[in-house]
């Protein structure tokens, strides 16, 4: 079988990919850089705080938001606990409806399967709607290498694509960009005069993409939910570009992670009431589509359709999910990618999404990125949290993110992945604090040194390793006497 994706890559692309994959992920460096970027912080705060406020006020409309979150979590957990059964049920129903089901165990499989579908059907003009799964498997670049013109059609993703950037938020991919940079980009891309009015920019993209919609022969979407009992995919969106993918092209492919299953159509009422509220503070997104088969063809039936795809392919993606399913982190697969944990997270709010080094940023990303792509490479991410618990409170399916982050930190130590310096420092610390004499000696020494360095009650410069603290903030000088000393001399 000749396979277009196995063609040797352009030399530059190859280099870039190798470097990107081999380079060390340095969370510290990325986050320090991001936290110092005032423009970035302003952009993030504007969007993220508003979405977070929208979420909290919208959830109050529900009769019992906490109980609904518990129910939503229980439904997803049930689907995960019996995923083998629901996958088979889904497969049977999609096939009965005239669709094809494909199984992608890895990102390579997903890219190969979809490139094959396109090649067999002679498709060359692809409109792609927003999908985290496709970002995860780097689908668009792979299809382009196979000679297919792939256009991202979500406005934010389109901007990401033409600026060769990466999305930085699950729901609002260009939350890190301001309108001036988008206006500059558009004036270059469309060779048009600079105009930073958001409406004018949006309409410019609309005109460009509308021609792409009209001529497309391949539509690619993700999926927010898979309904086992009916064999349907459910997609929510506000723009209408995913609907375009279901309407114009003759071939439709949906790439969906296996964790998206829910058993019943009725489960969607629970999920949808939480999803948009948690994501953007809407009670429902503008468009909720249910689909999962080729257009109806029965000429005797009134359902015979005159638009919609001739072929429907559902590509189910594992890519590390079954491994998570088999361990203590199964619950993390409940995630419905609403982004509420990002919006509420004090760390994400300061550093944005790119510092997390993967398509899944924020608290949920700090959790699933190491699980999916390896703890060794991403061992810094579980530390990217203050463990304040805001993400757990925000999660519509009640994933206990802080607890899982603590467990991952434990795994890092038990697998001896932490740095040598850290290991030695903690051993030394344990040795000191295990004995009252050593502990008091250490405290006395610390007090002596710090009080000598203090000016007006504050220490602003410490020698290494304490410099890490005082470089960015002052430290109050210790009291002249320790608690132990005061206690011993208390009046009786």
């Amino acid at each position: 079988m000749s396979d277009l994706t196995h063609r040797p890559l352009d030399e530059n692309t190859q280099d870039f990919l190798e470097q990107a994959h081999a380079s060390k992920f340095d969370f510290h460096k990325l986050s320090v850089k991001a936290a110092g970027d005032e423009k970035l912080k302003r952009s993030i705060e504007l969007a993220v705080m508003r979405q977070d406020e929208g979420r909290t006020s919208r959830l109050r409309e529900l009769p019992d938001p906490d109980a609904l979150r518990t129910l939503a979590g229980a439904i997803k957990q049930h689907a995960l606990d019996h995923l083998d059964f629901y996958l088979e049920q889904l497969e049977a129903n999609v096939k009965r409806n005239g669709g094809h089901v494909h199984y992608a165990s890895t990102a390579v499989d997903a890219r190969r399967i979809i490139a094959d579908i396109a090649r067999r059907a002679n498709c060359t003009r692809c409109i792609k709607s927003k999908s985290m799964a496709s970002e995860e498997v780097e689908l668009a670049p792979a299809l382009e290498r196979a000679g297919i013109d792939v256009v991202e059609t979500d406005l934010g993703e389109f901007i990401v694509q033409i600026s060769k950037d990466r999305p930085s938020h699950l729901v609002a991919p260009i939350v890190h960009k301001d309108k001036a940079s988008i206006a500059k980009l558009f004036s270059e891309y469309f060779a048009a005069p600079y105009d930073d009015d958001p409406r004018a920019l949006t309409m410019q993209a609309r005109r460009h993409l509308r021609e792409k919609f009209r001529r497309a022969d391949l539509g690619i979407t993700g999926g927010n939910f898979l309904v086992a009992e009916t064999g349907q995919v459910c997609i929510v969106e506000n723009e209408g570009n995913a609907r375009q993918s279901l309407t114009t092209p003759r071939v439709l492919v949906s790439l969906v992670g296996i964790e998206k299953l829910v058993p019943r159509l009725a489960d969607l009422s629970v999920m949808l009431k939480l999803l948009a509220r948690s994501a953007t503070g809407q009670h429902l997104t503008v468009y909720t589509s249910l689909f999962g088969r080729p257009r109806s063809r029965d000429d005797d039936d009134k359902r015979d359709e005159r638009d919609g795809p001739d072929e429907f392919h559902l590509v189910l993606l594992d890519n590390g999910r079954s491994e998570i399913l088999g361990g203590e982190y199964r619950e993390t697969l409940r995630c419905i990618r609403c982004g509420a944990c990002l919006n509420t997270c004090p760390v994400y709010r300061k550093i944005g999404g790119h510092a997390y080094g993967s398509v899944y940023p924020g608290p949920i990303g700090a959790l699933i990125t190491p699980l999916m792509q390896g703890l060794e490479r991403f061992k810094d991410l579980p530390q990217a949290s203050s463990l304040c618990g805001a993400c757990y409170d925000a999660c519509p399916v009640k994933i206990n993110i802080p607890q899982h982050l603590i467990n991952l930190r434990r795994d890092i130590v038990s697998k001896r992945l932490e740095s040598r310096r850290e290991r030695i420092a903690y051993r030394l610390w344990a040795w000191v604090v295990a004995s009252p004499v050593r502990y008091r000696l250490m405290c006395a020494a610390q007090r002596l040194v710090l009080r000598r360095r203090a000016r007006d009650g504050w220490v602003s410069k410490m020698p290494a390793p304490g410099a890490g603290w005082t470089d960015v903030r002052d430290m109050p000088a210790p009291a002249p006497k320790s608690f132990h000393q005061l206690w011993r001399r208390r009046p009786r």
């Binding site: 969007a47 529900l62 009769p63 609904l68 129910l71 439904i75 049930h78 606990d81 019996h82 995923l83 083998d84 088979e88 409806n97 165990s105 979500d154 406005l155 934010g156 901007i159 609002a172 991919p173 988008i182 958001p198 409406r199 920019l201 949006t202 309409m203 009209r214 009916t230 506000n238 723009e239 209408g240 609907r243 309407t247 019943r264 969607l268 009422s269 629970v270 949808l272 009431k273 009670h283 429902l284 503008v286 468009y287 909720t288 589509s289 249910l290 689909f291 257009r295 109806s296 009134k302 359902r303 015979d304 359709e305 005159r306 638009d307 919609g308 594992d318 079954s322 399913l325 088999g326």
Partner: protein, 217 residues
């Protein structure tokens, strides 16, 4: 082969060696915590209020004045070329002929192609359901209803009758589970919009920027 390996990985993760014939029943959906609308009374008022909150324009009309009011709205929006669904009052009142008689260019969906729809100013459709809780329109793809009718033209005019109304999303999915599922259903809750650029709300990005509902009394 890839399927077997794939399913084996999932089964192994769940501690099972072969296919399972059934699963225990999924969690019970406790209606009082899910349902927001508990009554059948006042549904059309609720629908109108919610649809307006979603930035749809809503006009309440009688059956007799529907054609006249539709024509006035199309004229106000300068929609000269129009595409209409079959079914419901759109068909019963022969709105295609009514529009043509008034000098509009009007075509029924079953006599046109999807590509022609890209040059049309407005799509006029009936709906299968209207959800009072969320102010949403529900439309199925069928011979009479192109998927593109409520998507491709820059304006969408929808005719809602009180018999279309369901109180809550719970009722909608209950209804949808009962029948055979169409190849495509869409729940529409406002004009197409985006807030990707610095959270500025812009309507009409890829779908219709105008959604105009005639609520027939």
């Amino acid at each position: 082969m890839s399927r077997e390996r794939f399913m084996q990985n999932v089964r192994r993760a769940l501690g099972r060696s072969g296919a399972v014939p059934e699963a225990p029943p999924p969690p019970h959906i406790d209606e009082p915590i899910v349902r927001l609308v508990h009554t059948e009374v006042g549904l059309s008022e609720l629908f109108v209020r919610m649809a307006r909150q979603n930035q749809m324009v809503v006009e309440q009309v009688s059956v007799e004045e529907l054609a006249k009011r539709l024509i006035a709205s199309l004229r106000a929006h300068e929609c000269r070329r129009n595409a209409l669904s079959g079914g419901g009052l759109v068909e019963k009142l022969q709105l295609v002929s009514a529009l043509r008689a008034d000098g509009f260019h009007a075509k029924s969906w079953d006599e046109m192609t999807l590509d022609e729809l890209y040059d049309v100013d407005a799509g006029v459709t009936d709906v299968r359901f209207a959800v009072a809780e969320t102010g949403s329109l529900v439309i199925d793809g069928s011979r009479a209803h192109g998927r593109g009718l409520s998507l491709v033209p820059p304006a969408h005019f929808a005719v809602v009758e009180s018999k279309n109304l369901v109180p809550d999303l719970v009722d909608l999915f209950d209804q949808l589970s009962r029948d055979a599922q169409p190849a495509n259903s869409v729940i529409i809750t406002g004009p197409s919009k985006t807030a990707d650029i610095e959270m500025n709300l812009v309507t009409g990005v890829h779908g219709p920027g105008v959604v105009h509902v005639f609520m027939v009394k």
